[in-house]
């Protein structure tokens, strides 16, 4: 392997995964860690399903917005999923990782559809809501796989959908606002 001069920022970084440089992958790993740690640390007793989407989807969109390359969402999803399994943030066991990977992967696709303009509030609303809902759908699919009775999957689905959309959209809006402020500051050093 050729030696890389890490101190020279002007030199393009070799692709490591998904056309992403090593520095970006490490930053995305940090975002993934941040997502899982926030889910572990913050316990809001508001009793509404999907409220974690505010910071979960918010951080996902923020990470994707700051490192706008294909695969960024997936990497954050994989890392947060791995850590969620380790933290034991659910009863699905190792399958829990999919609940984190699916929104991340969907974020990569949706970002392309919206020309990667994640700093737009409306894009934040749409993408945040949709990836939050994809998390709910993944939970239901996992429920079917884990043989959870149909009654618990069907009942309250609409209520949970509505709340996931609302909280996801809120997270997307917060991310869009943060992106607007952070992107110009970090553009020079992060966009390698």
């Amino acid at each position: 392997m050729a030696k890389e001069d890490l101190t020279t920022d002007s030199k393009p970084v070799d692709s490591f995964i998904f056309n992403l440089g090593m520095a970006d992958v490490i930053r995305l790993t940090m975002f993934g860690t941040l997502i899982s740690v926030s889910r572990f640390v913050f316990h809001f007793p508001i009793g509404l399903p999907g409220h974690t989407s505010v910071y979960w989807m918010g951080l996902l969109i923020l990470g994707k917005g700051l490192i706008p390359k294909f695969g960024a969402g997936t990497i954050m999803g994989i890392v947060s999923g791995l850590l969620a399994v380790v933290f034991g943030l659910g009863k699905e066991g190792p399958l829990l990782a999919f609940k984190c990977i699916v929104p991340g992967a969907l974020l990569d696709i949706l970002a392309i559809l919206f020309f990667k303009k994640l700093e737009s509030i409306w894009v934040g609303v749409i993408i945040g809501a949709l990836i939050s809902w994809s998390k709910l759908l993944t939970s239901i699919v996992l429920g079917v796989i884990l043989d959870i009775p149909m009654v618990f999957l069907v009942m309250g689905f609409a209520y949970a959908t509505l709340l996931h959309i609302v909280f996801g959209a809120a997270g997307g809006v917060l991310a869009a606002i943060l992106l607007k402020r952070l992107k110009p500051r970090l553009a020079a050093s992060w966009q390698t």
């Binding site: 559809l113 919206f114 020309f115 303009k117 737009s120 409306w122 894009v123 609303v125 749409i126 993408i127 809501a129 949709l130 809902w133 043989d147 959870i148 009775p149 149909m150 009654v151 618990f152 069907v154 009942m155 309250g156 689905f157 609409a158 959908t161 509505l162 959309i165 959209a169």
Partner: protein
Amino acid sequence: MTFNRRIVVGILVLVLVAGGAFLLEHMAKVQLSRNGRLVPVIQDSKIIAYLDAGTIRQLSQQERELRPGQDNSNNHSEVSLSFMLGSTGVVDYQYIEVSGVGNSKDFKLNPGDIEDIALSASSNHHTFALVNRAEGNRVMIQKVAKVYVAN
């Protein structure tokens, strides 16, 4: 497609997802209730819980844990009617009326009658049956459709 048009489509998709979820839940309730895959427990003209074959299996497991040495100790898909009623939050009643899918006969059971009555989940049809343990698990209703609790 322009960026603004994509935003409009995106918002429409969100509205459709939210509306579709309510429609889907309602349709699923109606459809599954019709074929006995989702069974409402009704008290005071109000639905107090929904049951399905999966919940019967879960309740069976709980009953075996809480009532060791019961009749269903070897049956993993059978729960006594009394345990089911307790689990759904039924606290006081005069009689229970269980009806089945289609033209099957309805059964009216007084508190003293339900001792040997159980619900047994079928493995193939995602439905559950009303059986009498005292008569060697004689099937009283093949596919339970509704449980009515009279105060």
